[in-house]
């Protein structure tokens, strides 16, 4: 690590994190990870690798069996509400629990204790950031999949988190909505972590990739290098993205 980086405080610092679900088997074993401001990290790995579990740990929803998590210099405590960390859940229906879009986006800011005017301003800002201003008065359950995804992202951005975590944001989207999401992530200035099985998406939006398997980080570095490494990828149930494969068929 260069001396320059040491001056900047990491956004996220995980050291020696272990976790087991009550039923016993260990899901995370000794995870160490440091994310610097401006880094946009892709987290890849097979089903059950522990990606979602890791995210829930970072947000303080689950209590680590061992190890520490520090976000922006402050340790994450179990059950704490940390508006500076925002988690976008894999299934937007889990996250859009308020009956209308406005209520949903306002939920986080309201719980931060902001005034009504401030909340309203946040709602407008977040919805326009994701290009969903038109939806503000719609009931959450009548949105299309792509719209739901955008609104659930707005609900998180409205808290102005400094670290945003996306759990499989590309799932269930059609090609148009997926492209819109990629644009949004590419334009985003926040530090973020994104877990995805859609490696092309990771390749387009991330400047760093972490490969996780069975609760351990097995590779960490440049996206093209890691995803281009056939041996590594195959050993962990991944496939090299098509855009990194030489062509058999002439165009």
């Amino acid at each position: 690590m260069s001396s320059e980086e040491l001056v900047v405080e990491p956004v996220l610092k995980i050291s020696g994190l272990c976790f087991s679900y009550p039923d016993g088997n260990q899901v995370l074993g000794d995870v160490n990870l440091e994310v610097m401001p401006g880094e946009q990290v892709g987290l890849i790995g097979p089903n059950g690798a522990g990606k979602t579990t890791l995210f829930l740990e970072i947000c303080g929803v689950l209590k680590p069996s061992d190890g520490d998590i520090v976000v922006l210099g402050k340790p994450v405590l179990n059950g704490d509400f940390r508006p500076d960390v925002g988690l976008v859940f894999q299934n937007p229906d889990d996250q859009l629990f308020c009956p209308s879009v406005r209520d949903d986006v306002a939920f986080g800011p309201q719980n931060m204790g902001l005034s009504n005017d401030e909340v309203e301003a946040r709602v407008t800002e977040a919805l326009s950031a994701v290009g969903a201003s038109k939806l503000v008065d719609r009931p959450s359950h009548h949105l299309s999949e792509g719209e739901k995804r955008m609104v659930s992202i707005a609900g998180v951005l409205a808290m102005r988190p400094r670290l945003v975590i996306y759990d499989e944001p590309g799932a269930n989207l059609d090609i148009r909505s997926r492209r819109r999401l990629i644009r949004l992530l590419q334009a985003s200035a926040e530090t973020f972590l994104v877990a995805s099985h859609d490696l092309e998406l990771v390749l387009e939006v991330c400047n760093r990739v972490v490969l996780i398997d069975r609760g351990r980080i097995v590779a960490d570095g440049n996206p093209r290098e890691i995803m281009g490494n056939d041996r590594l990828m195959e050993a962990h149930g991944q496939e090299k993205p098509h855009s990194l494969i030489p062509h058999q068929i002439p165009h």
Partner: protein
């Protein structure tokens, strides 16, 4: 999935504009005043007030007629049975059955009260979105546990209804015909019901996680969603006057 109850919330009548909190109080009081009516002579006034309310609300008559359908069985049973079963004063006999006066009066009262209350209820819930109504109830001080639960249940009703719909389709496409009552058939339906409960339970665990990451329970949601103006208060006053009229009429007559 609110079954079209908010189909006409955009009509923009005075009832649509009335502050939902005041509307709830006013119309609930009116409904209770109706159920208080025991005297036949009060019925024309009741019908008149109901017609006025429904007219002002601009809801189409067809809306009321379709809604009436759901309850008509019970009403029919009452209308058919009561005149024969209730009371002592026989006014006519049809074969072995005696038509009794008290029963007839009761039927008239019940049917009118039923129709009027139903109609006013439709105005109460058909002129604002169901969500707005629930929020108005919260603003009126209903316990948080009830309104939180109602809001969440309302949000997920559609979705869980979708589970049922798709699972029933999937069962049908694999040849299940639940037309006969058999132990196996009932068992399969219980699996269906159980699966819906399990899926909903799992969903609720995720919803809870999503709620706490956004600070659920950290601050009471700011109130002040509704702002009443003078007209709202005047309308409530008027309604309560009518209510008082009914009560007074009933007591004095």
């Amino acid at each position: 999935m609110n079954f079209g109850i908010d189909e006409y919330i955009h009509l923009g009548s005075p009832f649509h504009r009335w502050d939902p909190r005041f509307k709830l109080i006013g119309l609930m009081a009116l409904i209770f005043a109706f159920s208080f009516v025991q005297d036949l002579r009060m019925l024309p006034a009741m019908v008149l007030v109901t017609a006025l309310v429904y007219g002002i609300s601009r809801l189409p008559v067809s809306f009321m007629l379709t809604r009436l359908r759901y309850q008509s069985f019970f009403l029919l049973a009452v209308v058919v049975l009561l005149p024969f079963l209730s009371g002592q004063t026989v006014v006519a006999s049809i074969g072995p059955l005696d038509l009794r006066q008290e029963g007839l009066v009761a039927v008239l009262l019940i049917a009118t009260r039923f129709l009027c209350i139903l109609t006013v209820g439709l105005v109460m819930f058909g002129t604002a979105s169901f969500l707005t109504t629930l929020k108005a109830m919260r603003a009126l001080g209903l316990p948080a546990i009830l309104t939180d639960m109602a809001l969440l249940a309302f949000r997920y009703l559609d979705e869980i209804g979708g589970y049922l719909h798709r699972m029933e389709t999937a069962m049908r496409l694999r040849g299940f015909r639940g037309r006969r009552l058999s132990p196996h058939g009932l068992g399969v339906l219980a699996w269906l019901g159980g699966s819906i409960l399990v899926r909903s339970y799992e969903r609720s665990e995720w919803v809870y996680k999503a709620m706490i990451t956004r600070g659920y329970g950290h601050a009471k949601p700011a109130r002040g969603e509704f702002q009443a103006c003078t007209a709202d208060v005047v309308a409530l006053g008027l309604t309560l006057l009518i209510v008082a009229g009914f009560v007074a009429g009933e007591v004095l007559i």
